[in-house]
Assembly symmetry: C2
Homo-oligomer: 216 residues x 2
């Protein structure tokens, strides 16, 4: 059990080091030796966890969804839809691994599955919207998968914009504004007025979600 | 006059070649010699137009806005807001220079002004939304600059998602869906019902805008 814990910690340390190196140098220029040096491990120890640079990049990409906890259940399903976005915004501000993962998914590298995080986010969002629709929380014309796709695409674009614009914008505030814009076209008015889309919502959801493991 | 025309054509040919090389290799790996070879010019001829790789990259970035025509005036200002987005989506499908410019703006290169296209798009969009607000076409709580920022960020994210997802999605369709989602939170209902947000709108606007030069 102790051994297993250590293996999990080592794996996470390797992922964080790889994310930092990919972030600093880009995928192509990043070398395994840079990652090993940063994490202070031998090549053999790294190969015990990952088959190489490509596998590392794909694991960093996957961490974006698998390391993001699922927000706690709420009385209203559409609050969970909002919470997913604001929680992820909160985590992007505080977690370098997730931030590097998002940046990696914008690099043009054919060897890595850049579409995988999109697909996983769209899947998670579609499931919440489908349930919200069954409960009558969303407008009749809403197609859950279509709305999920637009939400994920728009979120990722707002995130890139925030990190590019000078002076840098406040991600949690911009994501809150994005959701306020989207929700009027998705949610029935009686639900809309009860949703908490405050920029500080992400931090509160994170505290609530503390105990719940990430799962797909 | 003929000389000037030729200079304009040469400048455009250099920009297109630079865009193609940046797109293929990324900014860092791209070499001036690759660009010269593609456009069949001497170093001296290139330096007559651009001071080097950095200037070329910034010119490719600027082309994203300066080469995109302003849609024709419409009876309703919010139709112009929609037209800007659908026209740009149409152009991104057909113009490799614009597509490369957008990709370049996602690269992490401190030497180039990646924020410049964002700022220019946000400026153009803010002006249209401000006029629409003066005319009473948008909801009272709408802050033109905030909504412009969200529109530009969301658009760029949907565009990245479309080119990443496998199978590739249809950009004009996804942008149409994005605008349908955003508009309900921006426009007063009496204007909303008259807006044309059809995916084919971009091609029609392009035909109409044919004679109008791009200007900021």
């Amino acid at each position: 059990m102790v051994k297993q814990d250590r293996a999990i910690r080592t794996r996470r340390a390797i992922l964080e080091a790889a994310a930092a190196v990919f972030d600093e140098k880009g995928y192509r220029a990043a070398k395994l030796s840079d990652i090993l040096e940063r994490v202070n491990l031998t090549k053999g120890a790294l190969y015990f966890h990952f088959s190489g640079k490509e596998a590392l990049a794909n694991a960093v990409l996957d961490a974006q969804v698998s390391e993001t906890p699922v927000p706690c259940a709420q009385a209203c399903k559409m609050q969970e839809y909002v919470d997913m976005g604001l929680l992820f915004a909160r985590l992007l501000v505080s977690d370098p691994l997730l931030r590097a993962s998002v940046r990696l998914s914008l690099e043009q590298v054919p060897e890595i599955n850049r579409n995988s995080p999109y697909e996983q986010w769209v899947g998670r969002t579609t499931r919440v919207l489908t349930e919200a629709k069954e409960r009558g929380e969303v407008l009749l014309h809403v197609d859950p998968e279509e709305t999920a796709r637009i939400t994920v695409g728009a979120f990722s674009g707002v995130n890139s914009m925030v990190s590019t614009m000078v002076p840098r914008l406040d991600l949690e505030r911009e994501v809150s504004v994005l959701y306020r814009h989207l929700l009027a076209g998705i949610v029935v008015p009686s639900v809309l007025m009860h949703l908490d889309v405050d920029p500080g919502r992400g931090a509160r959801v994170l505290a609530e979600a503390g105990l719940k493991p990430a799962s797909l």
